[in-house]
């Protein structure tokens, strides 16, 4: 077991960290306040290679894999979770499914632009009636000659409006609950595609979350990923990567909370002493540091498994469940250490607290993660000790 980063990994981490500190931090402070999407940041991320991390070089990416991606996502998440979410979705979901399931023509058409952030990719599964229960999705997708006709709506789609393309999961067979789902690459410029309501969110305010509206939206038949009915399989295959990405950026949020807490506690004096000298503060710091380290190692392990093409639903779910919980607890404790000022928008912990909250909901709720983990664990026991 190898715990040290390689020279190359350290260099990638350093570039991500320097970029996050120097370029992203000032923009993030502003964007999170105004809700203005920081488009220029994505251009720069594209130039540096961060938008095509799992895309092979022949399609314009850098092909560094999931482990290097999580190193980058932690650094971005530490400074701006909104940005990190968009980078995570773009890399681990959109690029991933096009690479794994797109025809050669689709790969050639979209991946080079995605890898360089000429366009941003978004990923549309959720519907009003289909959240954790993905198979309940209804968006109608009917074959009509050389095209599919899409009708319906998707909700809660991160950066769906800023994207050049959305990966859209629709129903091609109303009778087959799981086998009747298909995935399409839908350009935002396709006729019949439009943006509906923009959500006003509690956190992640530098990233948009929108409704996608499909009204007789015409998608070329060639823009289907895999074949008709492959949608569920494609969505499940991408899940682990998506979860690892959210877990990684949540470790970043947790790390930022610890950083802020320690720096603040060193300065703040009460009862004639620095509050970092109080045991109540020290215990919080110890707990945070330990939990962050544990979460980070789970994320690293899941990412390594993903890079080795080893199925890792249990490990990815564990990483996500722990990392998002740790982010919430760390943000909670960091805010508590700050006291009253932590509750104001002048201090970063206020944003960390709001941003961390989404982690336990999107890319599979904490409840779903527990379901995934427990099923796998029980299955493992079943194999070892079969019931009579």
């Amino acid at each position: 077991m190898q715990f040290e980063l390689t020279e190359e990994e350290r260099m990638i981490q350093k570039t991500a960290r320097d970029f996050a500190n120097k370029d992203l931090a000032p923009v993030a402070a502003e964007s999170n306040k105004t809700g203005e999407f920081p488009e220029a940041i994505f251009k720069k991320l594209g130039e540096l290679g961060f938008m095509g991390m799992t895309v092979p070089e022949e399609y314009g990416g850098v092909n560094l894999g999931t482990f290097c991606l999580v190193l980058a996502l932690e650094e971005l998440g530490r400074v701006c979770a909104s940005t990190a979410v968009a980078v995570s979705v773009h890399n681990s979901l959109v690029n991933w499914v096009i690479l794994k399931h797109g025809s050669e023509e689709l790969r050639k058409r979209y991946l080079p632009d995605l890898a360089t952030a000429e366009i941003i990719g978004a990923y549309a599964v959720t519907e009003p009636e289909a959240g954790s229960d993905v198979a309940a999705l209804r968006l109608s997708s009917v074959r009509d000659g050389d095209e599919y006709r899409l009708d319906g709506t998707k909700i809660f789609i991160s950066t769906g409006d800023k994207a050049g393309i959305n990966i859209v999961f629709g129903r091609t067979d109303p009778k087959d609950r799981k086998g009747g789902i298909s995935a399409f690459v839908v350009e935002n410029a396709f006729p019949g595609f439009s943006i509906g309501k923009t959500e006003e969110k509690m956190g992640l305010t530098a990233s948009t979350t929108v409704e996608l509206v499909f009204e007789d939206c015409r998608v070329p038949a060639g823009n289907i990923l895999g074949g008709e009915g492959d949608g569920m399989r494609i969505a499940l295959g991408a899940l682990d990567g998506g979860r690892i990405g959210i877990a990684a950026l949540s470790v970043g949020i947790a790390q930022a909370a610890l950083d802020e807490a320690v720096l603040f506690a060193r300065e703040r004096e009460q009862f004639g002493t620095r509050i970092i000298d109080f045991q109540s503060t020290q215990w919080k710091i110890a707990e945070m540091a330990m939990q962050i380290e544990a979460a980070r190692l789970l994320v690293y392990r899941a990412a390594k498994l993903r890079d080795a093409s080893t199925p890792c639903p249990k490990e990815a779910a564990m990483a996500k469940l722990l990392a998002t919980r740790v982010a919430n607890q760390a943000a909670f404790d960091a805010l508590q250490i700050h006291g009253g000022v932590g509750y104001t928008k002048e201090f970063l912990v206020e944003r960390l607290f709001r941003d961390a909250r989404a982690g336990e909901i999107y890319e599979g709720t904490s409840e779903i993660q527990r379901l995934v983990i427990s099923r796998r664990v029980i299955e493992e026991y079943e194999r070892m000790f079969p019931t009579e």
């Binding site: 190359e8 570039t15 130039e47 540096l48 290679g49 560094l64």
Partner: protein, 263 residues
């Protein structure tokens, strides 16, 4: 054009520096090392010049430093430098400007050069001597603390600005020349991910003193660091209070005269 950029491995400016128990150096454990900040400007300026000159222009990084300096060299290669010479020899233990300059001079002569960029000083020992000694050894002009750099059309002259008290000094120089770089000269680029991948395949020529025909560099030593000492702790701070400012000032003057004996 053969462009040389010099590079030193130094502790991160954010790192907390502690002197080791023997007083022979700093405690390296837990300290993050980086390219010495001013050397980053040098690398960036070298790369910009290369991009401007085009053709078969080449940026070669030259570094005297321990094995661990490979990571900083690799970072410069990832930024876009073409190759590197790493002089790494246990005989060069201490950072002594004459040894460093002598070794660099030999390595640079062997490589060939038209222009040399380096930082105005290292961010660790702040000696700011190597560039001047090196200029003498190579018998070329030096321009220090440059804040702007412009190469002539013909490529054999350069115009620079250097920050001096109260303004800027504009300097014209012939090539070859050594230029030490100041903050503000440029904004160093990041090592991009494609750059990091390409850097793996770039050549770092590691050389010992013997490879440079310098069996013993000890003769070059002109100064010796006797001991490293921590910065003495500052004295107690005293706040002079009084009913009003004139009373407080009177008390301050009295203290300065009688207690501090500064007046």
């Amino acid at each position: 054009m053969k462009i040389i950029t010099l590079l030193k491995r130094a502790p991160d400016t954010e790192a907390r520096i502690l002197i080791n128990r023997e007083g022979t150096g700093i405690q390296e454990e837990g300290v993050k090392f980086v390219i010495s900040t001013y050397d980053e400007y040098a690398v960036e300026e070298g790369l910009r010049l290369k991009e401007k000159m085009g053709g078969d222009s080449k940026v070669t990084v030259v570094c005297v430093g321990p094995e661990e300096a490979t990571e900083m060299i690799r970072t410069a290669l990832a930024m876009g430098a073409d190759d590197a010479v790493h002089i790494c020899d246990p005989a060069i233990k201490e950072s002594e400007p004459f040894i460093t300059a002598a070794v660099l001079a030999k390595a640079i002569k062997d490589n060939g050069f038209d222009i040399i960029f380096c930082g105005k000083q290292a961010i660790d020992d702040d000696m700011a001597q190597v560039q001047s000694i090196l200029a003498e050894m190579l018998d070329i002009p030096q321009v220090n603390v440059a804040t702007s750099f412009e190469i002539s059309e013909s490529g054999d002259k350069a115009v620079l600005r250097r920050r001096i008290e109260g303004g800027d000094e504009k300097v014209e120089t012939q090539l070859p020349v050594i230029i030490s770089c100041e903050k503000g000269l440029n904004e160093p680029r990041y090592a991009s991910l494609p750059g990091i991948m390409k850097a793996k395949k770039k050549e770092i020529r590691t050389k010992a003193l013997a490879d440079l025909g310098m069996a013993d560099a000890q003769g070059e030593i002109r100064s010796k660091i006797l001991k490293w000492l921590p910065i003495p702790k500052g004295g107690e701070c005293k706040v002079v209070e009084g009913e009003d400012v004139p009373t407080a000032v009177k008390e301050l003057v009295r203290l300065l005269r009688e207690e501090a004996k500064a007046l």
